[in-house]
């Protein structure tokens, strides 16, 4: 059970934060199909950053002297860096769709094609192979928080809650939850959030009240890019052993599906991403999931092909979309370039 909860969280958190990225863009009126591409880019820049920091003196010193605090600091720094890179990359989308009034679907698709191409091009040049890894060690031993990290001894039993939420977890998971809550409050409870949302519903009306629609849309898309870039790095750190290979397994698109399923509302999205995280977790580790701890691996014993489990998240997404899209409430002006002269 502990394993199940932890694994589900590992998949759910990046989904949740990237789905929020989608919300910020769409609420301001821009369809951000490029989430996948931005995640790939963020993951690459994050891994590259970790790789470069690893050769500096203080990280070398910390890893040889068990400097857990330094490692967690590095993790936070890398998340910020990946977010910054994602924000910069997303400017390409905002420039095309806000200033040049381009087709947002094609622009997003272009970014989705550009990110893996760029990333693979540089990975080949840097590492001479198709995967960029850390210089040494693995993500778990560097960044994972364990009992011993927190000062407990190896034999301490922390109870179910302690075992689940304090042992073998990542700081990024909790940081992402905090960011998620704070940004949701900003979007729905502040003046700024109201203005941003008005640009996605009726930009002409917003403009008539003195809100700069272009600026708001840039802000929304840039926040979206930052969140997606950060989510990309978190995904690669927690589930892909801090490697980058120009692929995040369609997580950006899954996040879009989560966003639509969650009806563009934070609480629903959090629930939806946990549901999808669960399916992803089953797909990834169905053979080692021991639900009630009696040593029987139920899912593996059913004897269904592994391919079915891998297919499941996507099938469920389609089904869920089929049943929820009818009464979905998308921002009214999403995908429509803002034209001042139009009524």
């Amino acid at each position: 059970m502990t394993y199940l909860v932890q694994q589900t969280l590992l998949y759910a958190i990046p989904l949740m934060i990237v789905a929020l990225a989608g919300v910020f863009a769409e609420r301001s009126g821009i369809i951000n199909l490029a989430l996948e591409g931005i995640m790939i880019f963020g993951a690459f820049m994050g891994v590259l950053f970790v790789r470069m920091m690893q050769s500096t003196y203080w990280i070398e010193y910390a890893s040889s002297h068990k400097g857990y605090g330094t490692m967690q600091l590095l993790e936070i720094l890398t998340m910020l860096f990946a977010g910054l890179c994602g924000a910069i990359f997303s400017l390409l989308l905002s420039f095309a769709s806000i200033n040049l009034k381009a087709d947002q679907t094609i622009g997003g698709t272009a970014l989705n094609m550009m990110a893996p191409a760029f990333v693979l091009f540089f990975i080949r040049i840097i590492a001479n192979q198709n995967t960029l890894q850390m210089l040494s060690g693995d993500s778990a031993s560097m960044f994972m928080i364990k009992k011993t990290t927190l000062g407990f001894s190896k034999n301490d039993d922390l109870g179910f809650l302690g075992n689940t939420f304090l042992h073998k977890v990542y700081l990024a998971t909790y940081l992402c939850i905090i960011i998620y809550v704070v940004l949701s409050v900003i979007l729905y409870k502040t003046k700024f959030g109201l203005r941003l949302r008005s640009c996605g519903e009726n930009p002409q009306a917003a403009d008539s009240l003195g809100i700069n629609v272009y600026k708001m849309r840039y802000t929304g898309t840039t926040i979206s890019g930052a969140l997606a870039g950060m989510g990309g790095f978190v995904y690669s750190m927690t589930t892909a052993n801090c490697t980058s290979n120009g692929d995040v397994a369609g997580f950006g698109f899954l996040a879009l599906a989560v966003m639509i399923f969650g009806n563009w509302k934070p609480l629903n999205i959090a629930g939806a991403s946990i549901l999808f995280g669960l399916f992803k977790c089953i797909a990834a580790g169905y053979s080692s999931i021991d639900i009630n701890g009696d040593g029987i691996y139920l899912l593996a014993d059913i004897g269904v092909s592994a391919h079915l489990y891998r297919m499941l998240p996507y099938v469920i997404t389609l089904l869920v979309l089929a049943f929820t899209s009818k009464n979905s409430r998308a921002p009214k002006a999403e995908g429509i370039p803002y034209d001042k002269g139009k009524r």
Partner: protein
């Protein structure tokens, strides 16, 4: 009425905007190569210049286009259809299963080829109709539905080939590949084209591809069906108001797009000597996504697609040359293709700008 000069012609301007997109794409590729060359001491400036030369040289090396032509047959979906990889995979699955499943001593190979081609194309059409139907009747964003069907197809194909007995076990070095269809004596007729273009892989597939493109052109611009499809694309609600069944037409257009992607896959894999790596569940075939820039470059004109596809194949080949001759790798061509798509997204702006520029020139003359 003032007669429009040559450069103010709409067709000329759309070609010009495509050319501008191509040029900017190549230029970005060249700049990336130069920057990497300057920063990375191992490669050096002379290597960088060599890379730039190859990138631009690709534009003019028509001699190699013939070998790219058989690949080009796959680039056929004229609609903005991001589900092409899935349809391509389903076409591959069905056509390969038929081509390998029916023993060639019971039925004539040409018949098997035909059945495999038709079945594969139909499979692609059906697979394409799924997101089409979801879009038309459930109001699901077709891009999302397509992405999901892509991944479902990738897993399904891997699963079915995994339990099939078509896996190539004869050649030990090739693990994870399906038998070539030539094992069952099924292969596309060469039609003497291999003698015309010596040393290339070209076969009858290119003829079929061109025929399909011409057929699509006729359907799209000369028939009622084509008009209805275009009307739905332009404005779904207006089309419904005019008495056109919009739902049916959306499903149909996605079905046609799926059939075209799958036909490309059939032509590619039924050629006889191409191998299919069946464990695809982790990545989608890039060839499906390549249909997007091709279609955009050709301004979605079915015949223009042929030339755009040839151009893309050349770009791919120059990418491979880049890998072989310099320290760079073929992904730079993907970067350029992506830049071309990006520029195409605001081709309208470029076209407006062109109108402004050429309009001024015309004004000066008078």
């Amino acid at each position: 009425m003032k007669k429009k000069s040559f450069i103010q012609n709409d067709a000329v301007q759309s070609i010009l905007s495509s050319l501008i997109a191509i040029f900017i794409g190549l230029a970005v590729g060249a700049v990336v190569i130069l920057i990497v060359g300057c920063v990375n001491a191992d490669i050096g400036i002379s290597g960088a210049m060599e890379g730039v030369r190859i990138v631009f040289g690709g534009l003019f090396s028509t001699g190699r286009s013939a070998s790219g032509a058989s690949v080009a047959t796959a680039y056929k979906s004229g609609l903005f259809n991001i589900g092409a990889p899935g349809q391509y995979l389903m076409g591959t699955l069905v056509s390969l299963s038929v081509a390998l499943g029916i023993p060639s001593d019971k039925l004539h190979p040409i018949l098997i080829w035909l059945i495999a081609f038709v079945a594969g194309t139909l499979a692609g059409a059906l697979w394409g109709m799924i997101p089409g139907a979801l879009k038309a009747f459930m109001n699901i964003n077709e891009v999302l539905a397509c992405i999901m069907t892509n991944w479902i197809a990738a897993n399904l194909v891997t699963w079915l080939f995994d339990i099939s007995n078509f896996k190539n076990v004869v050649e030990n070095t090739k693990s994870g590949y399906i038998y070539k269809t030539a094992y069952n004596n099924v292969a596309t007729a060469k039609l003497g084209l291999d003698k015309l273009f010596k040393g290339s892989q070209v076969n009858g597939g290119i003829v079929i591809a061109i025929l399909i493109a011409v057929l699509m052109y006729i359907i799209m611009s000369k028939t009622t069906l084509g008009y209805q499809l275009k009307a739905c694309g332009a404005n779904r609600h207006a089309a419904r108001y005019a008495g056109i069944k919009d739902g049916r037409n959306i499903v149909l257009s996605m079905g046609i797009a799926g059939a075209l992607s799958a036909a490309g896959a059939c032509l590619y894999y039924l050629a006889g000597n191409t191998e299919f790596y069946w464990s695809t569940y982790q990545s989608l075939p890039a060839i499906g996504f390549n249909g997007i820039p091709v279609a955009l470059l050709a301004s979605c004109h079915p015949v223009g697609v042929i030339f755009a596809a040839l151009f893309m194949s050349m770009l791919d080949i120059s990418g491979l040359q880049l890998t072989n001759l310099t320290a760079y790798n073929e992904y730079i061509t993907d970067v350029m293709i992506a830049v071309i798509v990006y520029i195409s997204a605001f081709s309208l702006v470029i076209r407006l700008w062109l109108k402004k520029v050429t309009g001024k020139k015309g004004g000066n003359k008078e």
